[in-house]
Subunit: 337 residues, 2 copies
């Protein structure tokens, strides 16, 4: 998908497409590996997995593994397997997330839990997660296994943590940042860190790439959470207002709550805290966020993390892919979908 | 639990308790490791995990890892970590199973999905699964990682396969055996195989122990499925008739279906195929199974697999623990809970 889109692009295409274009051959190898490794004699597994994976997605995490490996001159054949592993861990968490959140849309289509049921989503998620570990074992590096098994445990912890902040209007910005650092940014960090590790890079290379991925991941999630209030359905590929309807405590709401008057506080408590919502409430929420400038302040926060990502990335050797990873930072934050 | 129960036992105690007694110190180390490794700053994780793990369970899988390692003279400190890993994989699958099956009871208590909700059960299952891999990475053996990551993928495949046999009265005995070999026996096999691998045993030792575990696991699951029709609630720790109510296709039903007359075939089609059940149907099902001797024929099938397990075990060196693993075979099949 991404590689194909890359082919028809000009110099002003977005950095994600240009990344995919520069890594065209490698992404084709990863896409082939994804198809090969999601296969199983149990027909429902490739059916469900390909439904979700074929629906596209940005493939941002495997691209980061490929780019980070290439920048440090690592073995790209190993990077193909590990990028596949990273994408499988991501896909497994999406499947479980959609069950947990009772989502109805993902990547602009009915989500897998709606089409195939919760049972299949949970179990195929487990399969992809196991398959991810089989890929790492095939790769044979205990260092890589440590990075990705640690990330997996942190992701699960973040998801559980999020359960206890949901519907809790007392959630602080610190708690929110802790949740997204774990549930989203940890896998971005691991996907990047794997690159220099595969390349056997010395010194602080692995830490610097992990730091880049971690901060980019935080910026990415804050932006995602802002888009849930500002995005339009066709573009973001899911229903805007999902977080609001579920009572998720995200950056825009936490910022608005810090400035809320008595009435607004009651509004958030009723809609998010007690999930007592009427049809007009989402529009009202958007209006309150606007009053307090909460979306632009969320994006300002995302830019702070973007700056940290940029600083960390500067440690990496000069390389056309490094330049694109750098451009990816503002693109991640200013995107509309 | 098990270790404590072991202390007050006499020579005629069951072989599982005697196994726990002989491996008392090791099981204490495993129980301590389980508690230590299920801990997390996210309070809900140890709460939910200890709710299920403290509820007991037979700890049969970690006992097998300990016994198999000890028989081959492997490092018992390594066995403690790996037995913990095996128990975490098992616990993660129980948590996800109960969500998928919408169970209400497990080990004689309300199941975790009922007490903590489906969301927490899915996510804490993911956490324990990740933690299992962290334990293996700490152990540092790629051979062990391969055995357990392969087993995990096979388990997930078996669970998905079971989804498509459920409510399908055309399911054959071969398909049923394929399902239980994957969803249950694969982890028994892996738990045993790890022992000689940790010990660095040569030749066919690992294959023989895996073969023992696999066949014992098949016998164990067939027995479990028979107990769902013959057991009493207090003893089996779950509600008898659960499989029937869910429309699961298990050995007793498949045997009864092979001998069914027209009316009986309609009965199974209505109750299991279409899940159209009345209160009196479970008693009727038990009656039909009795008519066709389906429970005793299921146990005869379990004994066939028990014989295969015995044959494989005979390859292991002479050892008091080997004798107990041998006694475990009839105990597994003749148990009432």
């Amino acid at each position: 998908m991404t590689a194909q889109a890359g082919k028809k692009q000009s110099m002003d295409a977005n950095p994600l497409d240009r990344l995919a274009d520069l890594l065209d051959g490698d992404m084709n190898a990863v896409n082939a590996e994804i198809l090969r490794r999601m296969d199983s004699p149990v027909a429902l597994i490739p059916q469900l997995a390909s439904y979700l994976i074929a629906a596209g997605g940005k493939r941002i995490r495997p691209l980061m593994t490929l780019a980070a490996t290439s920048i440090y001159g690592g073995d790209m054949k190993r990077a193909h397997g590990l990028a596949t592993s990273v994408e499988f861990i991501h896909t497994a968490t999406l499947l479980h997330d959609d069950v947990v959140d009772e989502s109805v849309q993902r990547r602009g289509k009915d989500s897998a839990n709606i089409v195939f049921g919760n049972q299949a989503s949970v179990l195929v998620g487990d399969f992809l997660f196991s398959r991810a570990f089989q890929l790492m074992v095939d790769d044979g590096s205990l260092d890589v296994l440590k990075i990705l098994s640690d990330a997996s445990a942190i992701i699960a912890q973040g998801e559980v943590m999020q359960l206890s902040t949901t519907n809790n209007v007392a959630t602080t910005m610190g708690e929110y940042l802790e949740v997204i650092r774990a549930k989203t940014a940890a896998l971005f960090a691991a996907a990047c860190e794997v690159g220099p590790v595969v390349a056997g890079a010395e010194g602080s290379a692995a830490t610097a790439m992990a730091e880049y991925g971690l901060n980019l991941g935080i910026a990415f999630q804050i932006t995602d959470d802002a888009l849930d209030y500002s995005g339009t359905q066709g573009k973001i590929g899911k229903t805007p207002g999902d977080d609001f309807r579920e009572g998720k405590m995200t950056a825009p709401v936490i910022i608005a709550l810090m400035k809320a008057d008595e009435d607004e506080r009651k509004f958030w408590q009723r809609t998010l805290g007690e999930k007592d919502q009427q049809d007009s409430d989402f529009a009202q929420a958007q209006k309150i966020l606007k009053t307090h400038d909460a979306l632009s302040q969320s994006l300002a926060l995302a830019r702070d993390y973007g700056d940290k990502a940029r600083l960390a990335l500067a440690e990496a050797p000069d390389h056309p892919l490094r330049a694109l990873l750098d451009e990816l930072i503002p693109y991640t934050i200013e995107r509309e979908s």
